[in-house]
């Protein structure tokens, strides 16, 4: 057996999702549900921070998991399932951003007034579990401004800064997800932080 195959087997055995993946490939569809429940919030958060819109994040997150469902049997375990999942999510978000770039360029998420759609449905409100209404208002305003600053980033910088600073992934994982070199990831991350620092100067103080 070659060393590459041993390495892949080691990856799969170390992957905490290996059992669920194996069960799904054996025909247990409930294993897929477990994977969804395990990662849906992280993926949804990534989509929301990338797209800046709750409904778009909802649709995109569902699209990501549909892709996972269709392609999970082809997952060979060269990387962890989380990396593979984030790779799909990052590419899907970038593609969605490109197609909806003009439409959502200046769109901001509504955190205080539900937007009524023509069909009667309403935009979902983001729950806030903090204390007084003043604090809630200040925090919502803060989140709105921060999200606006994130939205202003170029797609590649946005993905890198979300993966690193919001999702908390390591540089190695980001390199595997984005496919960029280490220097490129560091450079993009540094530029993204400087842009955010400029956008949020006076709001976020050190």
């Amino acid at each position: 057996m070659s060393s590459a195959e041993d390495q892949n087997r080691a990856h799969i055995e170390e992957d905490p999702d290996a059992d669920l993946i194996s069960a799904f490939n054996s025909g247990n569809t409930h294993a897929f549900d477990q994977l969804v429940l395990r990662y849906k919030d992280r993926i949804f958060n990534l989509c929301y921070r990338s797209l800046g819109d709750y409904q778009e994040a909802y649709d995109t997150a569902q699209e990501i998991f549909i892709k996972v469902y269709k392609n999970l049997q082809s997952f060979r375990g060269e990387a962890s399932f989380l990396t593979w999942l984030y790779t799909i999510a990052g590419n899907t978000c970038k593609n969605r951003l490109k197609s909806l770039e003009y439409r959502y360029r200046n769109k901001k998420v509504s955190l205080h007034n539900p937007y009524n759609h023509e069909d009667g449905s309403k935009d979902r409100e983001i729950e806030d579990e903090s204390g007084s209404p003043l604090v809630v208002l200040e925090k919502k305003e803060m989140m709105k401004i921060i999200q606006g600053a994130i939205d202003s980033l170029p797609a590649e910088q946005k993905l890198v800064v979300i993966l690193r600073d919001i999702e908390g992934l390591s540089y190695e994982e980001i390199i595997n997800i984005t496919g960029h070199r280490s220097g490129t990831v560091k450079s993009k991350l540094a530029r993204a932080r400087l842009v955010l620092r400029e956008k949020l100067r006076g709001i976020i103080k050190g």
Binding site: N45, F65, I66, D128, A190, R197, L200, I204, K205
Partner: protein, 389 residues
């Protein structure tokens, strides 16, 4: 290391990605440079703030909704796969071209109605011309077989001239064309023949076992082009002044058959009667209307008068002669003494003129229809004469 270079390393310094040497340099610089220290603190605050952002959780119905989308998506995929099956099959260009040619050929030869030559009459006109595709030699051979006969002795079916299979009949009588297509654009120079009911012609055709199907547009369903042209002439009632024109010529000159046939035919056909036909307006005396010099002389000698039917026959003969045709034989009904059939020979170029001339005497139906103007050799026309009641 200057401040600009330090600022470039601050992001990695925050994440602990610098090696120990660079990390020590940055750390020492930040202790000495207040601006760089402020920059470091601001970036560190951004990183901290990003990491402290609330996680936007997926709604509770996310998994249920995902199941629905996966299910619908699988159906959509099945339909899409089904529709794309033809696209997955690679068809050679040559095979596709051949299949297209077969379809087009089938459409042309089985679905599209037969093309009508442009020199034929439009659909609202009765076709009067025919194209017999027989050679002149065949016509000569046929001519030698023709004999003068009476309707009693030799039935039509056994006369060697097969009855026409189909004759086009329409109730509309249109003027005969003058010259090819010119008649489409202007009125004919001669007056059109009077309109007579086509039922009389149909009855005559039935008596002769002639099938006369009528087809929309007046064109024949089929035609046997190896037989002489069949013509039915329904004479219209005429006044005596119209019976014989001033340009009458020698009737005997019209006969070109065998001498014995001429004599017999003459004896049978040119049998003048002394009394006029009762009830016929057009009855006349020979003295009033000359029909030919020799005939006139003969009539003068015998002091007989024309019968109405005989006058009509002479008039027809004149038309045939003036058109350039010649009579090969004449059939006379022994009981009625009336002419029933004429077999004439005429060139294809003069056939149209013959039709026009005879059209002045009554209604004409021919079979088969077509254009024989380009047929320079003589053609035979068998004319069934129907006298007016």
């Amino acid at each position: 290391m200057n401040c600009s270079r330090i600022n470039e390393l601050l992001s990695e310094y925050i994440d602990g990605q610098l090696d120990k040497e660079q990390e020590a340099l940055v750390k020492d610089h930040l202790l000495l440079c207040g601006d760089c220290r402020d920059e470091f603190e601001s970036i560190k605050a951004i990183v901290r703030e990003m990491g402290s952002l609330d996680t936007i959780k997926a709604p509770d119905d996310f998994l249920v909704s995902l199941h629905g989308r996966i299910k619908s998506d699988s159906w959509f995929q099945r339909i899409k796969d089904f529709l794309y099956i033809p696209a997955r099959i690679r068809i050679p260009v040559e095979l596709a071209t051949l299949a297209t040619a077969v379809v087009v050929g089938f459409f042309i030869f089985h679905i599209v109605p037969p093309m009508i030559p442009s020199n034929k009459a439009p659909s609202n006109m009765t076709p009067l011309n025919t194209v017999p595709s027989k050679s002149p030699d065949d016509l000569k051979d046929k001519k030698t077989e023709l004999e003068i006969r009476s309707s009693e002795k030799v039935p039509v079916s056994g006369s060697g001239i097969k009855p026409p299979e189909q004759v086009v009949v329409t109730d509309k009588i249109m003027p005969p064309p003058q010259k090819k297509q010119e008649h489409y654009d202007r009125e004919p120079l001669s007056s059109p023949p009077s309109v007579l009911p086509a039922t009389q012609i149909l009855k005559a055709a039935e008596a002769e076992h002639i099938s006369m199907p009528v087809k929309a547009g007046g064109f024949p369903v089929s035609a046997n082009i190896n037989e002489p042209l069949q013509m039915v002439l329904l004479l219209k009632p005429v006044f005596k002044k119209e019976l014989v024109s001033e340009e009458s010529k020698d009737i005997k000159g019209l006969y070109q058959g065998k001498p014995e046939e001429k004599e017999a035919d003459k004896a049978a056909s040119v049998r003048f009667k002394t009394q006029a036909m009762p009830g016929v307006v057009g009855s006349m005396s020979r003295a009033e209307t000359p029909v030919g010099e020799k005939l006139k002389k003969s009539l003068d000698e015998e002091k007989k008068t024309f019968s109405y039917q005989e006058g009509l026959l002479f008039n027809i003969m004149e038309h045939i002669k003036s058109a350039g045709g010649s009579i090969l034989k004449t059939d006379i009904n022994n009981e009625t003494g009336q002419p029933e059939y004429l077999l004439i020979e005429i060139s294809g170029q003069d056939y149209q003129k013959l039709v026009e001339k005879l059209g002045e005497s009554g209604k004409i139906q021919t079979k088969p229809a077509g254009d024989v103007s380009q047929f320079k050799e003589p053609i035979h026309v068998r004319i069934k004469i129907i006298l007016p009641n």
